[in-house]
């Protein structure tokens, strides 16, 4: 199954088509581009939430709880669980779905693990394409779970409608370190494992961050205390997420991301069409040699344009 047949099956919400479409995006290349062309025409309608935070903060368990709540409300949910791959071997262990397996047989739920394969365009474009695949399959809610380390993290916050940031008591150092980073993008700040000691300290830090960001007419990130393992606080969290969904109903963050994506796609196309032939041309090879040997001045380079 590929091309138009795959896309048609995707619109019919067939699980096998959803799975194959995400694989197509992961592989990259012409098939992926053709699929993305079709996906681009699909209007925004999913509520897309990115969940990020340090390893061990309980992100997968939280996603499991959000799945439970959304399903109780009759909403269909797609999950992308993103884990890093080894830069040495490219291999990875993707274990997030273990915590969500009780939903595996629910036809209103689709869970897919993604690994950071480090191909052209990086994880970012594959993840965004994955979001669009789930949106094409008309999931009401799309949850993207990702580890809160490194540059990829900021990327995730740029392609979702709502960023949910999870920390736990005792993670004050992480919060401090991330203050000028992913914290600036958190729309809802969550303290998980509130049955552990030390809630007050991390809560104070998060309140400070929320306070610093408060501005007239702007969304002030709420701080929500939960214990995902027993479900405490999940109802308040869902309320906070829905409140943010209302202010983010214009999908402004995703629109901005797509605008940037268009620029990047254009840049890549220009590189392929104009830059590559130019650097490989004999004119350029000869000129470069002469410039490097100081036989001609550097500004002669511009004679090629």
């Amino acid at each position: 199954m590929n091309g138009p047949e795959l896309f048609a099956a995707l619109l019919e919400q067939k699980p096998v088509a959803i799975a194959k479409a995400i694989s197509t995006a992961e592989r990259g290349g012409p098939d992926s581009e053709a699929l993305f062309n079709q996906l681009f025409g699909v209007p925004f309608h999913s509520q897309v939430i990115g969940i990020t935070g340090p390893p061990g903060a309980g992100k997968s368990t939280l996603v499991d709880r959000l799945l439970e709540q959304a399903r109780a409300a009759g909403r269909r949910v797609g999950v992308l669980a993103v884990d890093p791959s080894s830069p040495l071997t490219g291999g990875s262990i993707l274990g997030d779905r273990v915590r969500m397996q009780r939903h595996a047989l629910d036809p209103g739920v689709f869970i897919r693990s993604l690994s950071n394969r480090g191909h052209l365009g990086g994880l970012s474009e594959v993840t965004y394409q994955g979001i669009r695949v789930l949106e094409a399959a008309r999931f009401d809610l799309v949850l993207v779970e990702s580890i809160g380390i490194g540059q990829n993290e900021i990327e995730i916050t740029r392609m979702v409608d709502t960023t949910l940031l999870v920390t736990i008591p005792g993670m004050g150092d992480y919060v401090q370190a991330m203050k000028a980073g992913v914290m600036e993008f958190g729309d809802v700040l969550v303290i998980n494992k509130c049955d552990l000691p030390g809630v007050g300290q991390v809560e104070k830090l998060l309140q400070e961050i929320a306070h610093d960001r408060a501005a007239p007419g702007e969304w002030t990130p709420p701080v929500v205390k939960i214990t995902a393992s027993n479900g405490d606080g999940i109802a308040s969290l869902v309320e906070a997420l829905d409140a943010h969904a209302r202010v983010a109903a214009d999908h402004a963050v995703r629109r901005r991301y797509e605008r940037r994506l268009l620029d990047e796609m254009l840049q890549r196309a220009i590189l392929n069409r104009y830059f590559q032939p130019l650097v490989q041309s004999e004119d350029y090879q000869a000129l470069a040699r002469q410039v490097l040997e100081r036989q001609r001045p550097l500004q002669d380079l511009w004679s090629l344009l």
Binding site: P15, I22, R27, T89, G91, R97, V98, A104, S113
Partner: protein
């Protein structure tokens, strides 16, 4: 690393088997060989394993079994996978598998059985070769 897409494998344990060390060691070994290893969790049903294999679009389903039961749940798993159109997915089984079960397992569609003492290198080499064959790729 070869140019082709990484091999995706779902590792599963079904029934009440609680011996989890083998599958954990295997996961690490396969990751180090460059595979994308997806854990489906322990004590799962064949239904959950088949659904996970479909959603994750894996090349391989690897089942670990150390306390019997494989003759009960493997036929069920393979039947469910066939129903969902996963005929092309490689299915391997490893662990404590009596010699006399191996032929019957092959008959129901288990591609390969690895018994106690199988080396990581052999498992990796087998999966690479079998997946390349299924994908129609030359082995790097």
């Amino acid at each position: 690393m070869s140019m082709s897409a990484p091999i995706r494998i779902l590792l599963a344990k079904m029934g009440l088997d609680t011996h989890t060390i083998g599958v954990t060691v295997l996961a690490k070994g396969l990751r180090d060989a460059g595979f994308e290893v997806i854990f489906s969790g322990f004590k799962q049903t064949p239904e959950v394993v088949a659904a996970s294999a479909l959603q994750e679009d894996v090349d391989v389903v690897g089942v670990s079994s150390l306390s019997g039961g494989h003759m009960r749940y493997m036929p069920h798993l393979l039947e469910l996978m066939r129903e969902q159109g996963l005929d092309d997915t490689l299915v391997i089984l490893g662990g404590v598998i009596p010699e006399e079960d191996i032929e019957a397992l092959a008959d129901i569609g288990v591609d390969r059985v690895f018994t106690m003492g199988a080396s990581m290198d052999d498992i990796v080499a087998y999966i690479r070769r079998a997946v390349a064959e299924k994908r129609g790729e030359a082995l790097a």
